[in-house]
């Protein structure tokens, strides 16, 4: 074997080696700093305040996009009626569903250990349920596949580790967590391109997702001055400042409008 053949063989082996070592995850980012819990006092429950409110949609009603599930007969068979995207869901009372509302700043140096209970993200009816969830850093996310078809779950984060895992029908729940704060991580199923979801990862527990009435409630806040943000996947983020005293409940309503020319 001459030198050229040796070099070619070594290059091929090297490529195969990297391919074999790759797994389905991108190279890990350094996570040491992110996994360390911030030092600080816990919130005193006796003084905890609440911020509540709703997210109102203004100026028209965008046309909902219909999903085409015919690429997988198992998915299409699950729905007797047309299915529409959850990208923009306007409730009957004119409020917006699936808006991620969270405390953006003002929390100081409190410590917020990750909850023991996992957040649950289900693949049900070939849709992610719920469409938007929030978790704390290092809190478990329990991912289910309730469908009788194969899904792959693929978060596409910017600062956390990206991974892509298949979940055949009847698969055991998948437990994952995100060590770094990130707003918001898109999640997709590459098998079913209409399936999209978002995960908000925060260091603290002060977040909520608006429901069928467009309302949200953030409980357990220590007294202080805060910036509250409301994120909607299509229309972006709006913010408001609020001051809460001990045991106080404040109402903060948001209004989200489509940009000029959008909607109908």
């Amino acid at each position: 074997m001459n030198k050229r053949q040796l070099l070619s063989g070594a290059t091929l082996l090297l490529l195969l080696f990297y391919a074999g070592c790759g797994g389905a995850e991108k190279p890990a980012v350094t996570e040491t700093a992110a996994t360390e819990a911030p030092a600080g006092p816990p919130v005193d429950p006796a003084t905890a305040a609440t911020v509540t409110g709703k997210v109102v949609f203004k100026n028209g009603k965008p046309r909902a996009n219909r999903l085409r599930m015919d690429a997988d007969a198992a998915c299409a068979a699950l729905h007797g009626q047309p299915v529409f995207s959850d990208e923009v869901v306007i409730n009957d009372n004119g409020t917006l569903r699936y808006v991620f509302v969270y405390v953006k700043s003002g929390l100081g140096n409190y410590s917020f250990p990750a909850p023991k209970e996992p957040a649950v993200l289900d693949q049900h009816g070939c849709l992610y349920t719920p469409h938007v969830i929030g978790v704390q850093t290092n809190q478990d996310v329990k991912i289910l596949n309730s469908d009788q078809t194969t899904h792959n779950i693929h978060p596409v984060p910017s600062v956390n580790r990206e991974w892509n895992t298949s979940m055949p029908p009847g698969a055991e729940p998948l437990i994952k967590s995100f060590p770094r704060e990130e707003l918001l991580i898109p999640v997709k199923c590459n098998v079913h391109p209409w399936m999209k979801s978002y995960i908000g990862v925060l260091k603290h527990p002060f977040f909520a997702v608006t429901g069928a009435d467009g309302s949200f409630t953030i409980k357990g806040l220590p007294p202080g001055d805060y910036t509250i943000a409301a994120w909607q996947e299509k229309f972006g983020t709006v913010e408001q400042k609020v001051t809460v005293g001990a045991k106080e409940t404040k109402s903060v309503d948001f209004t989200i409008s489509p940009p000029a020319g959008a909607g109908d």
Partner: protein
């Protein structure tokens, strides 16, 4: 050793080139349907040879199946050439194609295992076109027409048709890469648009040059005509695919129209490159470069022995 044309070998090389075009289409279907990671493992698919072909798994695993078929054809072609082909450079070209298809398979695996790193995806797209050029070249040079000895035309223009055909091939290749870079979100559409203008300019010159030849060999005229027609179709398909892509931005999933137009744009681009490769090859085969001369001005074309 004089080459003896083997019709069977030529037909097999044509089959390999045709299957490679099908592979380009299958690859474009994967990208356009956002199916690149529908199968998270490699080289197996969901741990087996044949996964359930549902949703985007159909496109991704279908691409792998066509790629395996092309790989098999290339192995057979390389072995066939090695055993039967008297021209050493053609045998080596067969080996180069084999090396390229193996490397292409590894790059495809790396794109899956490392979650579509854009440079690797672009390398995969680039090598696809290079391999297609190799397959087309093998199909051309194993044909009877290539191996017939004919007098050469003297092309005295500057730039010569040979240079223009080579420039067109290179520019088409770069243009296909710019298109891939745009589809993989590595660049904006602007470089691809600039490339389209450049390709059109050079192709028009190539075709005009071939038309101006007093005696037009069929081997030059046919690929030149095909190139002109394919580039004209591309100029229609390109804007249509782009507009369909813009219209699909609001859609929660790739639209059928966007996928169809994009795949057609990629396929016709590949065919245009193939036509350009064949033209450039036959320019080398049938045209003579004038020797440095002193004195009298030459006529535009002359037959040389």
């Amino acid at each position: 050793m004089p080459a003896r044309p083997s019709p069977a070998l030529h037909r097999f090389a044509l089959l390999t080139a045709g299957a490679t075009l099908l592979l380009l289409v299958a690859g474009a279907l994967v990208t356009s349907n956002d199916a690149g990671l529908a199968v998270p493992d490699w080289p197996l698919s969901y741990g087996r040879l044949m996964p359930p072909m549902v949703g985007n798994i159909f496109y991704e695993h279908g691409h792998r199946m066509v790629a395996t078929f092309v790989g098999l054809l290339t192995v057979i072609l390389a072995l066939w050439l090695w055993r039967r082909e008297p021209r050493r450079w053609v045998r080596r070209l067969g080996l180069a194609a084999l090396g390229a298809v193996i490397l292409q398979g590894v790059l495809g695996g790396l794109t899956v295992l490392f979650l579509l790193p854009r440079p690797v995806s672009l390398a995969h797209a680039s090598l696809a076109q290079i391999f297609f050029c190799l397959a087309v070249t093998l199909a051309a040079v194993t044909g009877r027409s290539w191996q017939e000895e004919k007098p050469r035309l003297l092309d005295t223009d500057s730039p010569s048709l040979r240079q223009l055909a080579e420039a067109a091939t290179l520019m088409l290749f770069v243009q296909l890469l710019l298109g891939a870079a745009y589809r993989h979100s590595l660049t904006s559409i602007v470089p691809h648009l600039v490339g389209a203008a450049g390709v059109t300019f050079v192709v028009v010159r190539v075709v005009n040059h071939v038309r101006a030849l007093e005696w037009r060999p069929r081997e030059l005229w046919r690929p030149a005509s095909a190139l002109a027609g394919l580039v004209a179709v591309q100029l229609l398909l390109g804007p249509a695919a782009y507009l369909a892509r813009l219209a699909a931005i609001e859609s929660p999933q790739p639209t059928v129209l966007m996928v169809a137009l994009t795949v057609a744009h990629v396929a016709v681009g590949g065919l245009a490159l193939a036509a350009s490769v064949v033209l450039a090859l036959y320019c080398h085969r049938r045209l003579a470069v004038p020797a440095p001369r002193l004195g009298a001005a030459p006529s535009p074309e002359k037959m040389v022995a």
